[in-house]
């Protein structure tokens, strides 16, 4: 038996350019969609973790580990997580929050998710501070009160 096959067009044709253009446009669209609206967020936002007043770690938001990051200090343990925000006033922003803590006050858990430069989560009993720091200060306030 012979396998019938239809050989393809072997020389580049005009429509091939269209395919290349479509791929290029797709690349640009994904790039803009992914990097565009989050400039000043994610890429140059760092999660700064201090324990007892000393900075112990500075992690860019984009390379924050998946799952939980466990912080232990002063006899207490906090579980720090990264996720996207779902509240309308800051939808789609990456943020960190304390998932759980064995501290008595639970203020750190109550604080909720922070995603903007300048915000921080403070756990007084554990003396742990999680602060968001940005490389560019465009529009970011210097201090957050409240």
């Amino acid at each position: 038996m012979t396998t019938k096959y239809s050989p393809p067009e072997l020389r580049p044709k005009k429509l091939d350019i269209l395919v290349a253009v479509v791929v290029l446009v797709l690349a640009v669209v994904v790039a803009v969609g992914f990097y565009g609206p989050k400039l000043g967020q994610g890429e140059d936002t760092s999660v700064v973790i201090s324990m007892g007043g000393e900075v112990v770690e500075r992690i860019p938001m984009t390379s924050f580990p998946d799952g939980k990051k466990v912080l232990t200090h002063n006899g207490y343990t906090l579980e720090l997580c990264l996720s996207y925000n779902d509240l309308p006033s800051s939808e789609g922003q990456l943020g960190v929050y304390v998932l759980s803590s064995d501290c008595p006050t639970q203020d750190c858990v109550h604080t909720g998710r922070i995603s903007r430069v300048g915000q921080s989560i403070v756990c007084l009993p554990a003396q742990i501070v999680i602060h968001l720091e940005g490389a560019s200060n465009d529009g970011a306030p210097d201090i957050v009160v409240g």
Binding site: M1, T2, T3, Y5, S6, P7, P8, E9, L10, R11, P12, K13, K14, L15, D16, L18, V19, A20, V22, V23, L24, L26, A27, V28, V30, A31, F34, Y35, T62, D66
Partner: protein
């Protein structure tokens, strides 16, 4: 296609092509694309040469069989189950796109190949999103798509060469 009778010759050809695809997959590891994109499992997609060739020469069914065999054997040889998802998703997406575009006559093998390479990378990023459980890896897609323009053109060029050579040797005739 399911009703196609698999002659020994056809089967052998499929087996040879699978072996070739596996060899290309291994060869690919010598190009350390992971230096550019730090995602384990992401590949240039040279094995698409085989998929593309098989698609035109043997039809969708056989091409699909070769693809699946290549992915499974590759994962077994590498001893890496997560790599299976990467190569399967990448391979299948590329395959589906190329199978559809193949019927579009105003496109040459280059266009089909570039679209397939792009599909390959999209599939791999999907696999990465599934295994890593986050969407941050989507950020690598634009770079991978740019890479796919070149790897796709290269794949198309190789397949075109192959078919030109085939004009002189007809494998399928007994």
């Amino acid at each position: 296609m399911a009703m196609q009778k698999w002659t020994t010759k056809h089967l052998t050809l499929c087996a040879v092509l699978t072996a070739l695809a596996l060899a290309l997959s291994t060869l690919e590891n010598l190009f350390p694309i992971t230096l550019l994109i730090p995602l384990p499992g992401v590949k240039l997609g040279l094995a698409n040469i085989v998929t593309l060739f098989a698609l035109y020469y043997l039809g969708t069914g056989s091409a699909f069989a070769i693809l699946i065999a290549r992915c499974i054997l590759g994962a077994v040889f590498a001893g890496n189950a997560s790599a299976l998802l990467f190569s399967l998703l990448g391979g299948v997406v590329a395959m589906v796109i190329m199978a559809l575009l193949r019927r579009c006559r105003p496109l040459s093998v280059y266009g089909v190949s570039v679209a397939g390479a792009a599909g390959h990378n999209i599939g791999q990023i999907c696999a990465a999103m599934i295994t890593l459980g986050n969407t941050m890896v989507l950020g690598y897609l634009p770079f991978l798509l740019l890479v796919s323009l070149f790897s796709g053109a290269l794949t198309g060029f190789v397949v075109a060469l192959l078919f030109r050579a085939m004009e002189h040797v007809n494998l399928s005739r007994s």
